[in-house]
């Protein structure tokens, strides 16, 4: 439990005072007013350093103030990739002197010239200060490309001030990830899975369908070198299933000529069938037969039943870092009799709107909790005091941290699952989490869960 900083200050909140709202009373898409923000110790989601490192052999150069560099340089250090990471510090004189373009160009040049080996690609990350000073990024990149014609440069951004307008930094980063692909002849048998940080499950619906059709599958997580990464450009179809990858997929399709298909990540059986039928149409393959669909649904039901039988009325908490559709998952579980009590989400994802509306009617007492509201600083203590010895099963790292439970599923960003397999795998993980404790405190504080995939 948290130690109070000052015993004389009555600053702890009781469980009732921790901010939350009944889903029946919640607004879509923002159930909570924005204000000061708290930072949970759960760190498993990826950041722009991890994602950029997915491009094999690429070198990242961040240009920003020291305070902003601190988090990214230590991300690289913790993942063991400092040899692929450099920085240029923006200082106050640069803001005053108007030499921001020179700083980027000469700084990046200096670093490239010092590298022991010339990288095939350099990702240059500019920041909020460049955005606000109207830096001429086109000129910067044109100059760098002319100085280093053997290197592919792309523009990346660490400008969180833009997270509430236009493409989010996450969407932008996922789009930049494929900007280095060079146009090449399209192979009608090649397909690329794009926009996910973690490798797609071999057992997932998507992988089984693509393999079953005998297609050549590209995925950035399995590219061993820069040439393999470039081969992604031969794809006829680009499939994304992380909603934040969709804008980048559209850009890619427009630039290289393949077709982008945004597969929906869903826990709703009908929506799963619909989205995979759409994929079959784009691929030109046969859709799943009704027998196949019935068998898959029966398998899911069996998993759900087995899981419910095991965990019974154990309270279940879900957070938004587990997958793109936390409310869809809550609905699936509540509809099958699980005791889902809380969903931790600061906003309702667009794709979860139907589940949100359904839950408002069918399960109105489900509670939505924020993760960044200032009162959440005291949620852990309040939850521990309220629950006592009651075991809570958490689905996702933030839920685990807020509930202070070692019984949790340690997965972020969907963990590479999709389709019916996501339902079945979630059930299996729930049973495992119920039966076995994990070292929650240690596990959730590791940055970029699964980022070892970038080290090659």
């Amino acid at each position: 439990m948290l130690k109070k900083v000052n015993e004389k200050q009555n600053i702890r909140l009781s469980a009732d005072e921790i901010p939350h709202v009944r889903i029946a009373d919640a607004n879509f898409p923002a159930p909570f007013r924005s204000g000061l923000e708290y930072s949970s110790p759960a760190r498993g989601t990826w950041n722009i350093v991890h994602t950029g490192m997915l491009i094999p052999e690429a070198h990242e150069i961040f240009v920003c103030a020291a305070g902003c560099l601190r988090g990214v340089v230590l991300t690289a250090a913790e993942m063991g990739t400092t040899d692929r990471f450099s920085t240029v510090a923006v200082r106050e004189n640069n803001l005053l002197d108007g030499d921001m373009e020179d700083l980027v160009i000469e700084g990046v040049t200096d670093i490239i010239n010092k590298l022991p080996k010339r990288p095939p690609a350099v990702l240059v990350y500019t920041s909020c200060v460049h955005h606000f000073t109207g830096v001429d990024l086109d000129m910067i990149y044109a100059t760098l490309r002319s100085r280093f014609p053997d290197i592919d440069f792309t523009d990346c951004y660490m400008n969180p001030i833009m997270r509430k307008s236009g493409l989010t930094p996450d969407q932008l980063m996922r789009s930049r990830l494929y900007m280095l692909l060079h146009e090449r002849e399209i192979d009608p048998q090649a397909v690329a899975i794009i926009g996910n940080d973690l490798p797609t499950d071999e057992d997932s619906d998507l992988m089984k369908i693509l393999k079953g059709a005998g297609l050549k599958i590209h995925e950035i997580t399995s590219c061993k070198n820069y040439e393999e990464y470039q081969q992604m450009a031969e794809s006829r179809v680009y499939v994304s299933y992380n909603p934040d990858a969709a804008p980048g997929g559209d850009m890619l399709s427009e630039r290289l000529g393949g077709t982008h298909y945004a597969l929906k990540f869903s826990f709703d059986y009908d929506e799963i069938d619909e989205t995979f039928a759409g994929l079959a149409e784009v691929l030109g393959t046969a859709p799943r037969s009704s027998e196949e669909i019935s068998a898959l649904r029966a398998e899911c039901e069996k998993e759900l039943e087995e899981t419910k039988k095991l965990i019974g009325e154990t309270p279940v908490s879900i957070d938004y870092t587990y997958c793109p559709r936390p409310l869809g998952l809550a609905k699936l579980l509540l509809d099958h009799g699980f005791n889902v009590t809380k969903v931790y989400a600061d906003g309702i994802p667009g794709g979860d709107k139907a589940a949100f509306e359904s839950l408002q009617k069918e399960h109105p007492d489900l509670m939505i909790y924020p993760t960044v509201h200032p009162g959440m600083r005291f949620a852990r203590t309040a939850n521990v005091e309220e629950q006592g010895e009651v075991k809570v099963l958490a689905i996702g790292q933030k839920a685990a941290a807020f509930e202070e439970t070692d019984h949790f599923i340690n997965v972020v960003e969907g963990g590479g699952m999709n389709g019916y397999e996501a339902v079945m795998r979630t059930c299996r993980l729930m049973r495992e989490a119920f039966l076995e404790k994990k070292e929650m405190r240690e596990l959730v504080q590791v940055k970029g869960l699964g980022c070892e995939v970038c080290i090659r």
Binding site: L2, K3, K4, V5, N6, K8, Q9, I11, L13, E17, S34, G35, L36, E37, Y38, S39, P41, R43, C64, A65, A66, G67, C68, L69, R70, G71, V73, L74, A77, E78, T82, S86, T87, V88, A89, V90, R91, E92, L95, L103, S127, C128, V129, F132, T133, M158, N159, P160, I161, R163, K164, S165, V372, P374, G375, R377, F378, R441, Q445, K447
Partner: protein
């Protein structure tokens, strides 16, 4: 080229220094930032985040709020949160965007204080200086605002820290303890320089063994109430440059002298203690010091500055030891290396450092390109492991991790140099 780092890390920034300094004092600190500073601070700069319920937040400023100069959003967000959470004080610390928009920290803090009735600070950090700058600013603010005049607060009770069981046992066991009648505050303690490995307690234990009475520790292990009583002390011990701003304010407000030094070593701490005792008595006899500079108590180091050679003919040009890090702790360590290993040791200070603290052999080296040429000829380099890639192979690298540079990566390997420095010195001897 200056400002570039091909491979080394970056020191924690001023905004995080503010948060770290104030963390245990029961206030609410708000980083005026869009996003990123909070997760950086809580992941890499703040080992106490998981275990202590301190209120550190970001404002979450958006593009439109920055462009439109919407300070009201920040003010009302802070006042609303404070009404529920009831912090002892409120502090706002700046980042690059408020710096660019000309955010008036002082004025906004005044408005917040007026509306909330809670003492409020505006610290104009920029995110472009190191943590030392921010922590020093924050401690100075506390010294200015919260330290009571002893003339106004003469009340009963103990003036000293509430002792933990461990500390009390240690004091009782210390048969050689001879009270010298001098009360001291320890200034500049944050985990960024001293981690959470007990170094802060070791400093107190050392002071008590030397006969001092410790009034407060700024700011690890002391409550705001204990810090309020700091003016009851006779002298301040500045153990890192983060404590320098408070030392200056406490001199200006109460005429308190200050000693600079970190008690790491077998010989240097004793010299430091003797010097403090002597100087405080002199100050008392003289009725104080005429200036802040004259109020400084320091132990001479730089044994080889007169041109003499150390062991094996070593000088500050060749065969020397280089200590990279925060100014005061590095200087003390360099002094100990010279005294106990007989080798010239120079400091490469990468963070802000008070003027005239460094010796002529030492260097301010904020950038990778400043450091590399200074390491030529070094026999030993004592630094955080993330410096290792730029250390010449000819030098023996001795790892001394710092939370301020490598965050949590090597936390388990950070030594308590007050308790045991010999493990490090033996690698040089």
């Amino acid at each position: 080229m200056k400002q570039t780092a091909r491979i080394i890390s970056t020191y924690s920034a001023d905004v995080m220094g503010v948060c770290s300094a104030l963390f245990e004092l029961g206030g609410m600190t708000v980083m005026h930032d869009a996003s990123g500073c909070n997760s950086t601070y809580t992941t890499h700069d703040e080992p106490r985040w998981y275990d202590m319920d301190s209120m550190v937040y970001i404002s979450g400023i958006s593009e439109m709020e920055a462009i439109m100069g919407d300070d009201e959003k920040l003010i009302s967000d802070i006042v609303d949160a404070a009404a529920v959470l009831k912090p002892a004080f409120i502090a706002i610390a700046g980042t690059p965007i408020p710096t660019m928009t000309g955010f008036d920290f002082e004025a906004v803090a005044a408005v917040i204080e007026q509306r909330s009735g809670i003492p409020s600070f505006g610290f104009p950090t920029t995110g472009m200086n190191t943590y030392i700058h921010g922590a020093s600013m924050a401690f100075a603010g506390i010294a200015e605002r919260f330290v009571d005049d002893p003339e106004d607060s003469k009340s009963g009770g103990s003036n000293t820290l509430n002792m933990s069981a461990r500390k009390l046992a240690s004091v009782l066991d210390s048969c050689c303890m001879r009270p010298n009648g001098i009360k001291v505050n320890v200034l500049g303690l944050t985990p960024l320089d001293f981690s959470v490995n007990g170094t802060d307690d070791s400093i107190v234990q050392w002071l008590e063994r030397e006969g001092f009475e410790v009034v407060s520790k700024w700011a690890m292990g002391s409550s705001l109430d204990e810090i309020r009583r700091s003016a009851e002390a006779d002298v301040n011990l500045v153990v890192s440059a983060a404590g320098y701003g408070a030392a200056k304010v406490l001199y200006e407000r109460f005429g308190m002298p200050y000693a600079i030094g970190f008690p790491a070593g077998n010989e240097l701490p004793g010299l430091l203690a003797d010097r403090i005792i002597l100087s405080v008595k002199q100050f008392k006899e003289q009725g104080g010091a005429d200036s802040f500079e004259a109020a400084e108590i320091s132990v001479d180091s730089g044994v080889f500055l007169d041109g003499s050679e150390g062991k094996g003919g070593s000088t500050y040009e060749k065969g020397f030891a280089a200590v990279i890090g925060e100014g005061i702790t590095s200087l003390s360590l360099a002094g100990t290396i010279e005294l106990e290993c007989g080798i010239p040791a120079k400091v490469l200070c990468a963070t802000e450092c008070p003027e005239d603290i460094l010796r002529e052999c030492d260097r301010m080296t904020p950038d990778e390109d400043d450091i590399i040429p200074e390491l030529e000829g070094a026999a030993f380099v004592i630094a955080d492991p993330l410096y290792k890639p730029i250390v010449p192979e000819s030098a023996k690298f001795i790892s001394l991790p710092s939370e301020a540079f490598s965050g949590r990566i090597y936390r388990d390997e950070i030594p308590d140099l007050v308790e045991d420095i010999n493990e490090l010195l033996i690698k040089i001897k």
